[in-house]
Symmetry: C2
Subunit: 309 residues, 2 copies
Amino acid sequence: MYKENITEKFRQLQDRITTALELTDGKALFEEDNWLRDGGGGGRSRVTSNGNIIEKGGVQFSAVQGVLPDKIKSKLQVTEANFFATGVSLIIHPKNPHVPIVHMNVRYFELEDGTFWFGGGIDLTPIYIDKEEARNFHLNLKEVCDRHHPDFYFKFKKWADDYFYLPFREETRGVGGIFFDRLNENNGLSKEQIFAFVMDVGNLFAPLYCQIMAKNANQSFSEKEKDWQLHRRGRYVEFNLVLDKGTKFGLDTKGRTESILVSMPPEVKWSYQYPIDEGSKEKKTLDLLKKDIDWISSIEHFSANKILS
Amino acid sequence: MYKENITEKFRQLQDRITTALELTDGKALFEEDNWLRDGGGGGRSRVTSNGNIIEKGGVQFSAVQGVLPDKIKSKLQVTEANFFATGVSLIIHPKNPHVPIVHMNVRYFELEDGTFWFGGGIDLTPIYIDKEEARNFHLNLKEVCDRHHPDFYFKFKKWADDYFYLPFREETRGVGGIFFDRLNENNGLSKEQIFAFVMDVGNLFAPLYCQIMAKNANQSFSEKEKDWQLHRRGRYVEFNLVLDKGTKFGLDTKGRTESILVSMPPEVKWSYQYPIDEGSKEKKTLDLLKKDIDWISSIEHFSANKILS
C-alpha cells in the first residue's frame, strides 16, 4: 500500500463524487483549479455555485509533501519532519433549507520514518432536523463501520459528537455522523484493511447524500425557513473558523486560503438574540442539537433506506 | 484612581456614544440588555439594527470580576488570580458601503495584588478606501495621542497595523488606527494620566465616526458596491473569529456569547475567488490594505478636518 496508490484512489474518489453531485443537481458544474504548493505537491480544487440544488460546493483533492515546522511536530508528537499528506475534503451548501449542509473528509498522512495514519468522517447539518433522515444517515454509516470493525461506529459516532460541538453555543453542529483520526495498525487492522474502510466511507458519501438531496430539493420553503437557514449557516462559520482543526492547520501553515475557505457558506446572517418561539420547528431542531443522541435506536423505528447492503 | 471611578466613567462613555450614534442615525435606537456573569459582575449590552445608517451595531459595557483560570494566568504571565476588568467595546456595521465599519474598545484590568493595565484602540474598515478620509481619521488619532505622549501615535499605529492583519489573506483589515495593550506606569505616565489618555480615545470616537457617517450615508451605491461590501464583511468575520484575541478570550472563558458575537455583521457573503478587475475601485482598495502606510504624510496633503483642537 504505497502512498501513490492511496493518492490515486483519492483522486478517483473526487471524480466519482463530483460526477454524482453534478448528475443529481442537474445544473451544477464543478470548475477545476489545479494548484501547486510552495513547499511541495499541490491539489485539484473543484468548486461549483448556483446549481439547481447546490448553492455553493467545494470538493478538494490535495497531495502535498514537505517539512513539518517544529510547532506542528510537537503538536503531532512526532520527531520526523518529512511528511506526505493526501486527502479529499468537501462541504456542500444547498439552496433549499430542507436539504442539509454536509461535510466529508478522508485523509492519509505519512512520515519518512514509516509512521502513518488515516483520518476522516462524514457529518450532516440539517437546518431542520428530520429524525427519520438522521436515523437513516446514521444507519448507513453504522453499516459501513460494522463491516470493518465492531467498535468503529460507536467510537467514531461519539468522536463526531465531541468534535462537531460549539461549546460557546452549547450546540452540536448538526446530527453528527462519524469522525476518526490517527487510525493505524494499533486497532488490529492492517494498513490495507484500514484503507479499505476509509475508501468505503468515501464511497458511501455520494449515494447517501445524493439521495438526501433528491428527496428534499423539491420541497417548497418559506421566507422564514430561508432566514433560519442563513442564521444556521452562521453557526457553521463559527465552527469552521473558531474550532475546526483542519481549517486552523491550513491557515496556520499557509495553505491555499481560497481552497480552505471555500467551506464558507455563500450567504450568511447573524442577528442578536435570534427569536425562537416555543413549540416552533426551529425550537424542535435546537432541542436536538445535543451530544450523545442515539439516532438509530432512541427514536421510533422507521424502515431505513439502506444504501449499501 | 479607584476601579469604581474607571467603571463609572466607562459606563458614562457608553451612554455618550449610544446617544451620539442614535442622533446621527436619526432612526436607530439601542435596546439594552443587562446581564450578570456567573463568576461575578455583569454588563450592559446595547444593540441596534435597521437604522437609517446603521444596519447593525453593538456598544457593550461590562465590569466583571472573578478568578483567572491557570491557563489565562500563564498566558498573561501573572501569578495573582483575583481579577477585575471593565471596558467599553463597539462595532458598527453600516448599510451603505460608503460608510466604513468601525471598532472601538477601551478596557481596564486589575489584579488584587495591585497590578493593572489599560488597553484599547480604534480602527476603521472602509469598504472602499477614501485616502482623504483615512488621513483625517489618522490625524485626529495622532492629535489625541500627541497630547499625552510623543511616542504613542507611531507606536500604537504600528501596533494596529500588526494586530488588524489577516496573514492568510495578506491583507490588513482596513486602514488601521491605533491599538494598545498593557499600558501602565512603565511608560512614565501616572495611572491618572494613562486613564486620561484612554478616556480621550474613548471620547474621540463619537465625533470622529459620526462625522464619517453623516458625510457618506447619503451617497448612492450600486448593487456591485453592496455585493463587495457583503464580501468584505466576510473578511471582518474571518478576522474576528480566527484572529481577534478579545473574541477568543471571551469565547474561551464562557463569556456571554450573544454579546461577544454581536460583532458579527448582519449579512455576509463568501464567493470562491471573488473576481477583481484591474483598475477597478475594488482593486484600488485591495492595494491599500497594507501595513505601514503613512496615511498622514504619504498621500497628497488635504486640509484635515480636525475634531478636537
